[in-house]
Symmetry: D3
Amino acid sequence: MARIDGRRNDELRPVKMTTNYIKNASGSVLIEVGNTRVICTATVEDKVPPFLKGTGKGWLTAEYGMIPAATQVRKAREVTRGRPEGRTQEIQRLIGRALRSVINTELLGERTIWIDCDVIQADGGTRTSSITGGFVALVYCIKSLLDQGLIEKSPVTSYAAAVSIGKVNDEILLDLCYDEDVVATVDMNLVMTEKNELVEIQGTAEGSPFTLQDLNVLLELGQKGINQLIQYQMEALGELNCLVGQGK
Amino acid sequence: MARIDGRRNDELRPVKMTTNYIKNASGSVLIEVGNTRVICTATVEDKVPPFLKGTGKGWLTAEYGMIPAATQVRKAREVTRGRPEGRTQEIQRLIGRALRSVINTELLGERTIWIDCDVIQADGGTRTSSITGGFVALVYCIKSLLDQGLIEKSPVTSYAAAVSIGKVNDEILLDLCYDEDVVATVDMNLVMTEKNELVEIQGTAEGSPFTLQDLNVLLELGQKGINQLIQYQMEALGELNCLVGQGK
Amino acid sequence: MARIDGRRNDELRPVKMTTNYIKNASGSVLIEVGNTRVICTATVEDKVPPFLKGTGKGWLTAEYGMIPAATQVRKAREVTRGRPEGRTQEIQRLIGRALRSVINTELLGERTIWIDCDVIQADGGTRTSSITGGFVALVYCIKSLLDQGLIEKSPVTSYAAAVSIGKVNDEILLDLCYDEDVVATVDMNLVMTEKNELVEIQGTAEGSPFTLQDLNVLLELGQKGINQLIQYQMEALGELNCLVGQGK
Amino acid sequence: MARIDGRRNDELRPVKMTTNYIKNASGSVLIEVGNTRVICTATVEDKVPPFLKGTGKGWLTAEYGMIPAATQVRKAREVTRGRPEGRTQEIQRLIGRALRSVINTELLGERTIWIDCDVIQADGGTRTSSITGGFVALVYCIKSLLDQGLIEKSPVTSYAAAVSIGKVNDEILLDLCYDEDVVATVDMNLVMTEKNELVEIQGTAEGSPFTLQDLNVLLELGQKGINQLIQYQMEALGELNCLVGQGK
Amino acid sequence: MARIDGRRNDELRPVKMTTNYIKNASGSVLIEVGNTRVICTATVEDKVPPFLKGTGKGWLTAEYGMIPAATQVRKAREVTRGRPEGRTQEIQRLIGRALRSVINTELLGERTIWIDCDVIQADGGTRTSSITGGFVALVYCIKSLLDQGLIEKSPVTSYAAAVSIGKVNDEILLDLCYDEDVVATVDMNLVMTEKNELVEIQGTAEGSPFTLQDLNVLLELGQKGINQLIQYQMEALGELNCLVGQGK
Amino acid sequence: MARIDGRRNDELRPVKMTTNYIKNASGSVLIEVGNTRVICTATVEDKVPPFLKGTGKGWLTAEYGMIPAATQVRKAREVTRGRPEGRTQEIQRLIGRALRSVINTELLGERTIWIDCDVIQADGGTRTSSITGGFVALVYCIKSLLDQGLIEKSPVTSYAAAVSIGKVNDEILLDLCYDEDVVATVDMNLVMTEKNELVEIQGTAEGSPFTLQDLNVLLELGQKGINQLIQYQMEALGELNCLVGQGK
């Protein structure tokens, strides 16, 4: 059965990354995955959370937002309601955890990198696009720290990219768009490195449980998609690819 | 290498469930998993969220809390800070999603079941214990709805229990206590049914990514633990076991 | 006229105190007064509020909470609404004031004792049970400070226990359960010491004012109940009774 | 020993009430008790809280505030901190309860009277002055409802006035000013009717417990003060005194 | 066409200022402009915002509030809703900016002056009355700083008074009362000095745009009103007029 | 003296508008004014605020936000702090008021248009760019309502564009960039129509008051800039220009 937008089951949507998209950020990228568009920025703050003070180690944290018109129906600003909703907190914790796991915080020194992911258009996969794009912004930000002589060696240990996979009408599909996502019976997000190692796996049965066999197919498809996304990251990084892997 | 508390790598902590623990709730259980103790209650509210009004379908939602002295260092009440923290929201979304996936919301009718999980002592695995205990409270609550003639058939489709598995010092361990959890390099939570189907899988690399081989061992051990936990659920349910599976 | 649960007008409900109920707290007790059950814990924090810094004096403060299923109808978590309600603040101020009045804050040194009272089942008298149970948790906590050599002498000056008294159908009753409380025309809470001295008196006319004669009967009955409650405290404290009275 | 301001132990501060102080309110009074000045207003809202809908009964609720410069040191606005503090909530619950106890809510009909007490200068006794002044504003508001033909009979059942009494340097004093209040070892607030009946009694030991003998002296002095305050209320009400007592 | 209250188009309402209205504030005034009544106070705090620390410069900030009964229909307290509304924030930013522009912050030294404007009765022009009255409170506060020897020279550079002007039924009117304000098609607030210099101009078309010719008439009338208001300020300041102008 | 970026005093920065920038919004534009970039969207909601229900009239409201990396130093998200800051509220009130004044709310019918202005890069003039760009998004949104047959006639009465003008080093400059803005002694924002009518004027003395002569020069320069901006709006609207002016 053909997909809504005519893709094969194992096919990513078109991906485009525009680097240095925001002048004021040390690293920034506009990532577009089909109709999903996210501005990812990386900025540096010269302090760390209390539990790291005096340890010599740095921190990376992420925040995620959406402009109100990003979704099909206008979504009220979170500040208007006074608090971030659970979904937002879950996503920003995921992004932070995923990217933190590919940096050596000792090499970063006592500073915090803020990864901000602001969705300007949403069509499924905003959290995975945020991770994939956020990684690129992160490496540009590291380059800026090196250029300023603030750190001596890149703390980045490996690539990290993310993709969604799901089960829709009993078929396992790669990179779900919004209309596929809402009818999926299994919804999975994978974050992996260039060596096919897992950084994060989150799979949820929507409606009815799924088998371990399903899990294997989901993993296989996800792995394939991530390999391609890492190729896109490499293209967006150009000369900066040499900064990845130094942090080990 | 022996575990902190002398357990084998594939051994659960002692599990105890005291049912009907809270007089005012339709269903309630005090679940104790080692030193972790959680009061799980299920109560019914005669309305559903706006998006379900008029659909004939019900809803299940979960909330999670901790008394301040539950943790090793007293933890400030969330209300004192004015908002639930991200971790809390993530956990209550997980509990709700997991238990919602084993009920047939059409059979439930237009009402909401609230699963409240209040941790009175925390020693690792509070979210998984909440799901395992919450399931038992849920079935007792269903019994009460049936007894009152409010529903005709149990909406419960299968058992659901949860366990944590992790990698500590290169060993894969079942059911981590707090001291193991803080040093784990991989942290995974599994929710499964009595048929070894997956309801939810969440695995996170803490520090360095993990391989797909690791994932398989984690899944195997988790599956074993969940089978045992479902045995405990069956003991706690007694005659009410007949209510599980009717909802399909 | 017999009371709802068959008690005499001057009769307390059955009281049970389980000490050391929460492993992580320096002092803890599960107090049960009829169907009312409150977990009281006492924990120590190594700092004091700003107005006490440098004075050598300590502080005691209390917080009060309820699990949602404690009441007959599920009560929404306060954090969900974003702020503690007035009733909660009033109760926690009362508990703090009452227990603070029986410790010598100079002997305590510059540290704060947190008394947390978490109601897991509510059937009237939760604030008075919190004080009576909180006192026992406090003394256990003091014992722990002495054992660690952090203080040299117990700062506890006297016992403090609390009870409710009320006027229902023109009869003055001791220790109201919830069903009595809602129909009471006078509602009083008393906190007293083992010497029949007053720590706090709060009496409220619900509906119509009451006479000074009524007040005397209320005080007499309350005094009787408190004497009994202090007996229960003494049993729960055992060897630790020697710590009470040193602080004068 | 003479008091700070030369008063006898059983002497009130000078009391002045300016009625119809705020044009837009149905009832209003500026009450001055020594240097304490409170604007009390009573306004009517044509709805009741949910639990009273359809019962035919009305409601009375109170709110209490302070302008920042009312206190010796400027006090930050509560809205700036995002929530009312515990003290404020306690006071407004007391004012509401006290005045509610002298109106017949059935005669009021399904409407809510808001009593707002805004302290513009604070020198002790702001909560008791709020009650004493709030009562006068309430009766003016009732007059307005009668004049508009919205109610047929005054729902006010009796006078209600409030005063503070305390123990300072072992002397029992009536109507404490701020400098006396901060050194008092016993602090009591009394609300009574013109028949010396109690509406509310709140007594607190600050530092050390007090005896039942003390309580009797406190009550005697308080009763004396309240009798005088009710005289002042009668003067401020003039012709409106006939509205008090009809509600029985 | 005659105005609602019979005034000429270029006529201010009666203005009255009662200085030293609040005992605890360094400077205070009750300003009455027709039925609009605002308590303005100026208090000093011995610290400055972070961005001024160590600069030797001071700060002036303003807050604005209303008692609930100030308006024709009771207005809920902002603290009850948890946050100041946009209108309040806009007004307090305006007051602060206006008065800050007539003090030399270097002569003030590293301290903050808080201008609190609390409206006790509202009939249009509350923000402009707050500025006009706030200026007088400010100068009294400066006098107190000089008297205490905390500053050596008055930092006040010029007078500042404010007035509203508007277009109602095609006529340009000075000092709109509430009933005029709600039907105005142009609404302007002006803050000026005694030399007819502008401190702030805010003009808004309500409904349909206005011409530059209108603007000139509005300015002319506003200037006239401000000249008169500064005369009232001079009367209220008496001997303190010598403190104005020193700060240049 | 040359300006920072070499412009003449009366010269706008380069302006670019990309229409239909956000797929999900009825109207949208990315406006770029020099380095300032704002995404403006217009979406429709089928309800109006309570005070308009049943009047047949519509409403227009605006919200304003910034992504954290928009500014030179990363700015914390407002939701993280729990409330919009005063500056944000002031800006969104201004945008809403300005655009509301050029639509005929009766022709709009009972619906609300939301104008969202999200700054993705800030270099001065974000509020004026929001108005200029917001107007274009508004007209596209009106087009969509007409196309759907929801309204019969365009409610837009005239163009509205905005610009900042200021006094820097005694020179009056058009369209201040951030570095000019921070040193300006007078800061003015103007909103005008294509007929040189005023919609809003806001002028503030930063530091020292300004003369009426200055005001005239500021107005002249502003008028010139707005004329040019309306040219840019006309280019961005193309065929849609016919929708402007129908609403009169």
